[in-house]
Structure formats: C-alpha cells, structure tokens
C-alpha cells in the first residue's frame, strides 16, 4: 500500500478535482491519495466524486482553511 501526496494549495475549483481524478487513475487498489487543498469548494466536490466512485474518503482540517482529503482507492 503506497501513499501519495497531491499538492493543490492555491488551486481553485475545479483544478484539485481534475488533478485528483488523474492521479487516482494511476494508483493501485489499496493505495492512499492525500489531496492537500485550501479551496473550500474542493472539500465538497472532491469527496463527493470519490464517494460516488466508491472509494473510502476522509477529510481533515489541518489548519485554518487548509484541508487534507484522504482517498483510498478501492477498485
């Protein structure tokens, strides 16, 4: 199980989502993708997309207005 970080600080919606989609496609099942974002829109649409795809998702606010989205690829 590998862990990947995706730095999306300063990126506006929908760039974090597009990057996460692209990156997740390269990952193996069971790998963990950590998306770092500071655009509040991304903590809504990235998890929504990932959950819809059936992946495990968690969000952590690591600082004021900075979030990490944990996506574990399940399929």
């Amino acid at each position: 199980m590998a862990e990947y970080r995706l730095d999306c600080f300063g990126e506006a919606c929908p760039v974090p989502l597009l990057k996460a989609q692209k990156k997740l496609a390269d990952l193996k099942v069971g790998d963990l993708l950590i998306v770092e974002v500071d655009h509040s829109c991304a903590i809504k649409n990235v998890p929504e997309w990932a959950r819809k795809e059936g992946h495990n998702v968690e969000i952590e606010e690591i600082g004021d207005g900075e979030w990490e989205i944990y996506i574990q690829k399940t399929k």
């Binding site: 929908p14 649409n45 959950r51 968690e58 952590e60 690591i62």
Partner: protein, 222 residues
C-alpha cells in the same frame, strides 16, 4: 448527509497543526457588523436591512458551499448534479416570490417590477463568455466575493479584474444597449401568456430540468 466511511487502519492521519482560536475575531467582527448596522439604520432603515441581508447571504453561501459555477460545470465535468438541482429549486422558490410580487403590482394596474431584460442572441453569447470566465476564475460573481472574504488569495486577483471588467462594461453600456438590447424583445411571460399558463409553463420546465438533472446524476453512478 452522506455516511462517513472510515479509511482502513494503519492510515497515518497527521495530527492537525495548532489552530488559532477564531472566537475573539468572530466577536469583534460581529460587534462591528452590529455597530455598522446601527449607524446605517440611523441614516436609512433600508440601508441597514440591505447590510444585514447581504451579510446573511454571504454566511449562507459560505456555509453551504453553494456555487453557481459548480452547478453548471459539475454535471459535465464530474456528473454530479446535486448543485444543479439546488439551483433549480432556488429558481423555483424565487419564481414563486417574484411571481407573487409582480402579480400584486400588475393587479394594481402597474407595470411588473424587477428587471425584465431583453432576450436575444446576445443573452446566449454573454452566457457562454460568462461561463468560460467563471470556470477559469474558479467561481461566479457571488462565489468569488465569498472566497475573497475567506482569504483565498488567487481570487483577490479575480476580484481586481472583476471590478475592471464591470467598469469597462458600464463604460460601454450605451453602445451595447443601442446595438443589441433595444432591438431585442422584452418578454414578460405572464403578460404574454396570462398568469395561469405562464405559471404552469415555468414549473413544468423547472420540473423537467430537475428530473433530467436527477437522471443525469444517477446515470453516472454506474
């Protein structure tokens, strides 16, 4: 709300950075809002009401993460239509409210209040330009303002050009008005079709769009 899924064990969830307590700042800002409201109220009650409603809009927009840009973009980009459906519901509720206000005014023998804008090809061209702009800028007008307040610095830059664009548009407004708006028809559906028919038509179209959005959202799930 969606059910929260847990990431399997062994995932190193990093402990959060020490966050500043924002409560003192919130109290100061709230007091400031109240003081400004009182000052504005002294000049004109309408100003104070606009001030409070404006701030209320901002709070709802920020807390709900409501985003007009995403509502129109996500159905194509990700297949998510939850925000598109929210916008359709908002338009439906607004239609009821505007309808009631206009009906009251027109029944009293007056002209329908509000902006009855001329519709034509320029509407479609403007919508496409605005759509491209808002996807690149990462938000529509209200979303940009909300994120400026949130402290997202990239959108401060957007605000600068937003202001420049608005001023430029206002500067040339007379030209656009003469060339396009004055030649296009102004359609007020209730005046043209009658109130019952336009009411039914409005909600049939909104209902159809909602069902379409719902189907589109579910279709992508497979």
């Amino acid at each position: 709300m969606e059910t929260k899924t847990t990431v399997t064990q062994g995932v190193p969830v990093r402990a959060g950075k020490k966050r500043r307590n924002q409560l003192p700042a919130a109290i100061v800002v709230l007091l400031g809002i109240i003081i400004v409201a009182v000052i504005l109220g002294g000049k004109s009650p309408g100003l104070a009401i606009s001030w409070v409603i404006g701030i209320g809009f901002g709070v709802v927009l920020q807390k709900s993460r409501f985003c007009f840009a995403a509502a129109f973009r996500d159905p194509f980009l990700t297949g998510s239509t939850s925000l598109a459906k929210a916008v359709i519901i908002a338009v439906a509720i607004a239609s009821l409210g505007f309808g009631a206000v206009q009906y009251a005014a027109v029944s009293g023998g007056g002209n329908p209040p509000g902006f009855i804008s001329p519709v034509g090809l320029h509407t479609a061209i403007g919508a496409i330009l605005f759509g491209i702009g808002m996807v690149i800028a990462g938000g529509c007008a209200s979303g940009t303002l909300m994120r400026v307040g949130e402290g997202f610095t990239m959108q401060w830059l957007v605000l600068v050009f937003f202001v420049i664009g608005t001023l430029w548009g206002t500067h040339d407004y007379a030209f656009w008005k003469a060339v396009f708006f004055d030649r296009a028809p102004q359609v007020h559906l209730p005046s043209a079709l009658g109130w019952p028919l336009s009411f039914i038509l409005q909600f049939l179209v909104l209902g159809a769009l909602y069902i379409l959005a719902d189907k589109w959202g579910n279709r992508q799930r497979n």
